[in-house]
Amino acid sequence: MLTYATKRALIAILTLLAASLVVFAMLEIVPGDPARLMLGMNATEDAVHNLQEQMGLNQPLAIRYFSWLGGLLTGDLGKSYTYSVPVFDLIKERVAVSLPLAVISLALSTLIALPVGIFAASKRGKFSGTLAMGVAQVGVAIPNFWFALLLVYLFAVTLRLVPAGGFPGWGAGFGVSLKSLILPSIALALPQAAILARVTRSALLEVLGEDYIRTARAKGLSRRQVLYRHALRNALIPVLTILGLQFAFLLAGTIIIENVFYLPGLGRLVFQAITQRDLIVVEGVVMLLIATLILVNLLVDLSYAIVDPRLRGRS
């Protein structure tokens, strides 16, 4: 278990380092001088020079990379050019919107998908099972931002049950803030739930065809006992893999969904930064998201070993 965990962790750290090189290099291949690019055509020479100084552009490449990397480790992501505040503070503020959104959506999607997948697998060949998978098939094809628009039209514009967009801030009260995250989380969760339900079903069906399932039935366990005690546990590995991948899609999804609902999260931040050419902010947000993805995938890898003891011995 320990060797497996260490190896996975090492790979994750190496991937993270390599990713940081890629992100850093992206800004190096900016055509022309990044300082001039950020300031625009009409900038004075002095302003450009100051920004170059601030970004450390007059230092050698390697030194700049390592000081940037050191900054990342200590939470110093540089200073936003447009907001004139540390990028770390900007991100901290926005994560308070994006992270709850992603987590609620992931929980919601899992809570919907697992029962539906199990149901469809146990009703294989029956009308109800086929219907459930038909709905899931359509769900997979629905873009979350379009689904979000439909939800806004139905629940915010027509029924006026929830706000169509905006976010009061956690300071304005937990209830009202949570209320403005309801539609965005549903919009994000349902298409993901459709994918997860399909994976759960096919993983379960694969396991249910195994010999040990027949043995379990033969020794007198009920269909239900076999499903929950033997099949579900063995079907969890592919489900976990997809859950890890889904987190990546959810994070990307939050970025898009925030634009539908005008939520002040990381997505809004990064798109504003792109329009304003605030590359330092873009760099910080992208790096944070990639680090999160790598960490989540590491956790998924480690959880395999918890679910499947056979993996613990392997290094």
Binding site: A18, M26, V30, V138, F145, Y153, I255, V270, A273, L279
Partner: protein
């Protein structure tokens, strides 16, 4: 696979019909659309579906059906080129890793993990931040995202083929790994790769729509389904139909390709039947 088998598969048939119709619509849009695409008619704006405008008009009075027809070209082009990029780079890398093994394979797989850490949207964000938005950047971002997917599928399947007797036999009569890969591995992978390409194609349609929606995809005046939805957003209270139809176009296209992919997998891989 036989044609009879394929036609007996419901997913395959429905998928084939839907995707053929979409391809037909895209082709027709080159020679005919109900109205010239982008023709403005401010007096006739936000009209609901009618005999003159089957799917209604948008906030500039443009015919929505014409825009959806022309927009399909954009979606199909972006999705197919990015699948070609993904397969063109990913498949050779996966085959190379499987054929060589050892250090090369390990390095290739770690590189794969690295690229995998960049979802299409994040690549698109970085590329756009540096080079500005555009359809080409969307293609590159989605294409990069496709590379590790194809590399993994090709490598995993090739690895299992390398232990099969006919491949070992080919090695025994002195064929080089490169020739074995070309003559024996690749032909046996083709069906699997076609299925994967179908899946990545429909993911590409979704990704392109998402990128255009947030302004990172194709730019005006080229109509795109994602941007039509973005423009519809503020008008949704007044004219919900302009947000409805481009979304339906996306759903039907993605659904069609998913059904085709599912059907193909069932037909080509007897294990799933």
């Amino acid at each position: 696979m036989s044609i009879g088998n394929a036609l007996a598969n419901r997913s395959f048939c429905v998928g084939l019909i839907v995707t053929s119709l979409i391809a037909l619509v895209a082709l027709v849009s080159f020679v005919w659309t109900p109205y010239p695409v982008g023709a403005l008619d401010i007096a006739g704006k936000l009209k609901p579906p009618s005999a003159a405008h089957w799917l209604g008009t948008d906030h500039f009075g443009r015919d929505i059906l014409s825009m959806i027809m022309v927009g399909s070209r954009n979606s199909i082009a972006v999705a197919s080129v990015s699948v070609a990029i993904g397969a063109g780079i990913g498949v050779p890398l996966g085959l190379w890793g499987a054929a060589t093994g050892g250090f090369v394979d390990e390095v290739l797989m770690r590189l794969n993990d690295l690229v995998f850490a960049f979802p299409a949207l994040l690549s698109a964000v970085m590329i756009t931040a540096v080079f500005g938005p555009g359809a080409i950047n969307a293609i590159i971002a989605i294409g990069i995202f496709n590379v590790p997917v194809f590399a993994r599928v090709a490598r995993a399947a090739a690895l299992s083929l390398w232990s099969r007797e006919f491949v070992i036999a080919a090695g025994a009569i002195g064929k080089s790994p490169a020739r074995i890969t070309r003559d024996h591995i690749l032909p046996n992978l083709a069906s699997l790769l076609i299925v994967q390409a179908t899946i990545q194609f429909s993911l590409g349609i979704l990704a392109e729509a998402g990128l255009s929606y947030v302004g990172l995809g194709s730019q005006p005046p080229m109509p795109s389904w994602g941007r039509m939805l973005f423009e519809a957003q503020t008008m949704i209270g007044l004219a919900p139909h302009i947000a409805l139809f481009p979304g339906l176009a996306i759903v039907i296209t993605v659904l069609g390709f998913n059904l085709l992919g599912d059907g193909l997998r069932d037909v080509l891989d007897p294990k799933f039947q």
